[in-house]
């Protein structure tokens, strides 16, 4: 990491005093990355890109947005109709929020499949769950800002979750609202926090990356790299691979923004908020639906709230629930089946969360909720003990060398 590496004298002069170029060089050129990463490893950089897009478009939107119950809806309509390129900027902000969640969900399931949460990456995983929580809070408050019907009733229902807390619940809700219902003080503070939280996320992302660089990426085989023959430098190999992912991501994002900008939203949010009337069928944004399904599956208010938060909290202790020493699902035949069942279960919960809470949907939600917790609390600990895992290769290079030898 000596400054002498840089040929440009200006760079050398700066780097000697402020080693930013050494740091860049360290993360991009020197940083050894497993050579067998597949495309599931693209979602980290895509999440980072999404965060940048959200911050840039958000700051620009804030220049024309008015956080007041009488003007918020109109100011957003003005952004859509009158502000130069306002429609474009808002549609990018709206749709990237959804894409951000798609990317992060895939990122999380990647980690679940390849056992990336296991030692020594527990803190890296936990920081990821923290980012996920902050993202949910940010997106929830952002959705309140346009002050449509779904904004208002989403805010009402979600803040009321806290009223389930015994004794202090009501005071907490009043505290969150700054009044006796969701109203102007609520909208103002949500705007303030919606502006702040993405920067908190950026801070946790830095920690996430520091933790990542301590031991480097996990990989599809899930065994540690054993030296130079197992790694390649991040740049240019993975920068190029990340750019391929980014190009595809931006292409899909453009399709959504230009052709289906409201497909992932709810039409009722184009009706101004009316505190006197709840829409017949309220649903949160699609990315909250699995958790919403869990909330509604329980016929008890406090129980529902606890299970819903529990569904996320369980991810924090996941590294200690799954004690199997083998990371990657490739070598865990039984785990792999249960992984896909969990994946289907999560999709099913998402579907059920969007359906009315009656009849067969309630029953199915209960089954799916039970399965979710069963997976983490019973199946994973049992598999750690009873599963017969397949033999692991000695190194990342070994299977590759073996096939080339066999082919010759």
């Amino acid at each position: 990491m000596s400054a002498a590496k840089f040929s440009n004298p200006v760079v050398r002069w700066i780097d000697h005093r402020l080693p930013v170029f050494s740091m860049l060089d360290h993360t991009a050129n020197e940083y050894p990355t497993p050579k067998n990463l597949n495309y599931m490893w693209n979602f980290g950089s895509l999440a980072g890109l999404s965060l940048v897009i959200m911050i840039v478009t958000g700051i620009v939107l804030a220049m024309s947005y008015t956080a007041h119950v009488d003007y918020a809806f109109e100011s957003v309509e003005r952004i859509m109709r009158d502000v130069n390129h306002g429609w474009l900027i808002r549609y990018i902000h709206m749709n990237t929020a959804s894409f951000f969640f798609i990317v992060v969900y895939l990122h999380i399931f990647r980690g679940l499949y390849y056992g990336s949460y296991k030692a020594p990456r527990e803190l890296l995983w936990i920081l990821g769950v923290v980012i996920f929580l902050l993202m949910m809070a940010t997106a929830f408050m952002g959705y309140v800002l346009p002050w449509g019907q779904m904004s208002f009733w989403g805010a009402t229902v979600i803040t009321n979750l806290f009223s389930a807390i015994p004794l202090v619940g009501e005071s907490i809700v009043t505290f969150l609202w700054g009044g006796f219902s969701v109203d102007n003080p609520t909208l103002n503070r949500f705007f303030s926090l919606h502006y702040l939280m993405p920067f908190l996320i950026a801070g946790v992302v830095v920690l996430h990356i520091v933790a990542l660089h301590r031991f480097g990426s996990n990989n599809p085989i899930g065994i540690d790299t054993k030296g130079k023959q197992d790694t390649i430098s991040f740049h240019p190999y993975y920068t190029i691979k990340d750019i391929v992912g980014i190009a595809l991501f931006l292409l899909l994002l453009a399709v959504a923004v230009f052709f289906f900008p409201n497909a992932m939203g709810h039409p009722d949010n184009y009706i101004p908020a009316n505190p006197m009337q709840t829409p017949a069928h309220i649903v949160p944004e699609w990315y909250f639906l699995p958790f919403y399904a869990i909330l509604r599956a329980v016929p008890d208010k406090l129980g529902g709230v606890l299970l819903m938060f529990g569904a996320i909290a369980i991810l924090f202790i996941l590294p200690w629930l799954d004690r199997s020493p083998v990371r990657s699902a490739r070598f865990r035949p039984v785990f792999r089946i249960f992984f896909w069942l969990l994946f289907i279960d999560a999709i099913a919960l998402g579907y059920l969360g969007g359906k009315p809470a009656e009849g067969i949907y309630v029953t199915l939600s209960r089954v799916a909720t039970a399965w979710y917790f069963l997976h983490f609390l019973v199946i994973l600990p049992m598999l750690s003990v009873f599963e017969n895992t397949k033999p692991l290769p000695k190194s990342i290079s070994e299977p590759v060398l073996a096939t080339t030898v066999a082919a010759e």
Partner: protein, 187 residues
């Protein structure tokens, strides 16, 4: 690790008195620091609670003589809807037909009204705060003919008591008084 153990050893070899006094000063300093930080944090936190003008929100006066029997109106109080229903004798009879003590949130109908024909409740579902249906003619009123909350399926009876669904308590009865025979003041 090794360093700190050797440190504590050397300090204890200096005599027990000194470190004990010093420990006390350290703890006292931390405690004062915590109190100071708390005192600074409190205004920053408490500013989020309702402001004086929000607390001073006016009460609402309603002329109830205009509500025909079987009809219901919705008025606003503290930013929330309040349901006022002029109940039919049948609705009153049904509210009294069951033993209030057996309900999820035990309460007799008499305890919820000042005049049996006039039911006044806050129109906010005690589950997660949606406005239940049942005010307009043609609305779904739920299995107990009172109100039905579409958000997660809570059924309220003709006294606004929770009968089925996730809501934990009955619809709240706001404080109100009769200013005259025809006018009530809520709040």
């Amino acid at each position: 690790m090794a360093k700190s153990t050797s440190n504590s050893k050397s300090s204890s070899s200096n005599g027990m008195q000194e470190p004990a006094r010093r420990d006390f000063i350290v703890v006292a300093t931390y405690a004062m620091g915590a109190v100071g930080a708390g005192a600074v944090a409190w205004p920053l936190i408490d500013q989020m609670n309702p402001a004086a003008d929000t607390l001073a929100l006016a009460s609402t006066e309603v002329d109830v003589s205009k509500i025909a029997m079987g009809q219901a109106i919705t008025v606003t109080w503290r930013g929330k809807p309040v349901f006022i229903r002029h109940r039919t004798p049948d609705e009153i009879a049904r509210a009294n037909a069951i033993d209030g003590a057996e309900l999820r949130d035990p309460q007799e109908d008499e305890a919820r009204v000042q005049r049996p024909e006039l039911l006044v409740v806050v129109g906010v579902c005690t589950h997660l705060g949606c406005v239940p249906l049942g005010q307009k003619t043609g609305d779904v009123k739920g299995d107990y003919d009172g109100w039905f909350c579409p958000c997660h399926g809570s059924h309220y009876d003709t006294s606004g008591r929770i009968r089925r669904g996730p809501a934990p308590t009955n619809l709240e009865v706001p404080p109100y008084s009769f200013l005259s025979d025809n006018v009530i003041r809520i709040g």
